[in-house]
Amino acid sequence: MQIVDIAFWASVLSIAMAAGTSLVYAAVGEIFAEKSGVLNLGVEGMMIMGAVTGFAAAYHSGNVLIGVVTGGIVGGFMALIHCFVTITLLADQVVSGLAVTLLGGGLASFLGQRLGVDGTPLVGLIGPRLLEIPIPYMSDIAYIGDVLFNRDMMTYLLYIVVPLVAFYIRRTRPGLFLRAVGENPQAADVMGVDVVKCRYFYTVMGGVFAGLGGVHLSLSYTPGWTESITGGRGWIAVALVIFATWDPIRSVFGALLFGGVNAIQFRMQAVGTNVPAALLNMLPYLLTIVVLVIITYFEGLRKKLGAPDALGLPYIREERV
């Protein structure tokens, strides 16, 4: 294995892009929710529900687009439950988020065994998948052409969505309201922002994104349905939000880093090493922990860079702070 080979690193980056796409969707979604002050630990559950329903819809309709839309809607619906329980019924956000993950995992497993042809399992079915669309001329550029311009539709969509979301949060008026609601809901309320409506909107939006992340797994990265398809990616996305200090652009680099670990793992397995596969498979999880330690070690940095002040706290208008 030649470490200094450009072609090798280009292939690693190429896999990192494919593996990272679902993480970026989930992380951007969670940034929306957390910026509005709602901690949603249900990302894993929303992703896996998006993955199973998206795949089932694409399989039965034969149309990937219908699959993508279905997965997004179902992800949003899962988030809506979290909204109702935490924002309206004022329940604990941590427990409710865990409940989304647990219910999502159970429901997805249940649906996965029923949504095939006539109530048969989905496992093992081969459905339509998102195809790579090479952009003429640009995909022929040496090395980076394949990495950047030979992707599927959902990855291309991120090229537009991520900068747009970053601009929206930082530079627009609704983005300012969003940040205000997450930093200081009392002040936002006085400003005339409807805190409840705002939190509902962005948390559901976050669910839609998480659902899309799940769909990308079952329609593109690992086409088809298996019960462990998300494999903790939802939780890695939650960690990624902290790593990215609530910034969509930085989340892309984090996702590429995690995707890159996946890629190196594949490459090492392909060339055959003495390191057991199980140990290589642990890398993304261990990396998540290491990255979190490094980030939280510089706590001052984290505060300055965008952790919303009211994250995880319910807003009750009558209560004084």
């Binding site: 941590v94 427990v95 219910l103 159970g106 429901l107 642990m282 330690v293």
Partner: protein, 370 residues
């Protein structure tokens, strides 16, 4: 029509009971709705689940208690892990890693059972061997839990994510051990370690029900005594209820985090050891079926009360066995059990609102006199 919501000064226990029952009923209705949507008869399914969990009256008359013992077999690890999770939750430390700690304990216990004799650490008395194995399991689970606790106290790293990541790492280790490193060379190529010798196995009470039940009940008693009667339990409760008061009162929070996680992880590890020593007699597939996650729901539903945890564990074990049963007899997915569990957590969580707040419906206009 408008709603007026105001906090309740005090909630009666009968109100709590009614809300809890309604919430659970709603969860079953939600489960039924999902079944109906995918074309399954909810009533038939629930009846089959109930029969799977506690058996039929004909079986009882014949002296067959197979279903009940199966439910109790599943209740043992669930009870111990739920207690483990409950202790950590009591001080608002979110230990989501009981699943990994259980697996780590099972690995440590299996390691002792398989290899202790090579070092002359084997007694002829099974009791001594089992105790040795349990100590290893407690240490395995405790060590697995102490890392996130250390990262939390030293670097303030979010424990939810670290404990959860450790689940995946533990499960990968475990799969590596029984598939590769500790795989039985005489196992005809099947994954799994060699069977433990008879003196490393927990005795049985009835059917497949083993003496792990005793260990689980003693654990429950221990947790109850610690939480309700000891100074340590008092500190745990104060930290959970009011961190500022705890700090002001001079309680060493960091040391308590480490101690509680060692204890919590140790208990979860004990559950893993009991499971390999009482049920599978080897390290093999099927250990990580989600006890650690179900434990979160059980302990939350029990309001972190150790006695309630022990009862709710049996009910939830019944739901799991019922789920397995409908998979075998009706060909329906056993994950119905997990759907129900998740739904229950949601409805109970949402139902809390009606315990904490009084809601009245105002019909017509009433603002004139204000």
């Amino acid at each position: 029509m408008k709603f007026s919501v105001e906090p309740r000064i005090e909630a009666t226990s009968s109100l709590r009971f009614v809300v809890m029952c309604t919430s659970i009923l709603c969860a079953f209705m939600f489960g039924g709705l999902i079944m109906a949507i995918v074309g399954v008869d909810p009533v038939d399914t629930y009846v089959a689940m109930l029969e799977g969990a506690i058996g039929r009256s004909e079986d009882w008359n014949d002296g067959q208690f197979y279903s009940i013992t199966e439910t109790l077999v599943k209740a043992i690890p669930l009870m111990i892990t739920s207690l483990a999770v409950g202790v950590a939750f009591k001080m608002l430390f979110w230990n989501i890693g009981a699943e990994g700690q259980l697996v780590a304990g099972a690995m440590a216990g299996s390691g002792v059972a398989l290899f202790a004799k090579d070092y002359g650490l084997q007694s002829t008395y099974a009791v001594i061997n089992i105790v040795l194995m349990c100590i290893a399991g407690v240490m395995g689970g405790g060590l697995w839990a102490i890392v996130p606790a250390f990262l939390k106290t030293k670097f303030k790293v979010n424990e939810i994510i670290t404990t959860l990541m450790f689940n995946y790492v533990a499960i990968l280790w475990y799969q590596y051990l029984f598939n590769v490193a500790w795989k039985d060379p005489d196992g005809m190529g099947f994954p799994g370690t060699a069977k433990f010798d008879g003196i490393w196995i927990l005795g049985r009470i009835s059917g497949r029900l083993h003496w792990g039940l005793g260990i689980a009940l003693v654990s429950g008693l221990l947790v109850w005594i610690i939480l309700d009667m000891s100074k340590w339990g008092y500190e745990i409760r104060v930290i959970g209820q009011n961190l500022k008061a705890a700090l002001y009162g001079g309680i060493d929070v960091n040391r308590n985090v480490l101690r509680v996680m060692l204890f919590s992880g140790g208990l979860a590890g004990l559950a893993g050891t009991v499971e390999v020593s009482g049920v599978s007699y080897s390290l093999q597939e099927g250990l990580n079926v989600g006890y650690g996650y179900t434990a979160i729901i059980v302990s939350w539903l029990s309001r972190l009360n150790p006695i309630a945890i022990m009862i709710v564990s049996v009910v939830f074990a019944g739901i799991m066995v019922g789920g397995d049963q409908i998979q075998m007899t009706m060909g329906l997915p056993s994950s119905v059990a997990y759907v129900l569990q998740g739904a229950m957590l949601f409805f109970v969580l949402g139902g809390e609102f009606f315990v904490r707040y009084r809601m009245t419906i105002i019909i017509g206009q009433r603002h004139a006199d204000s």
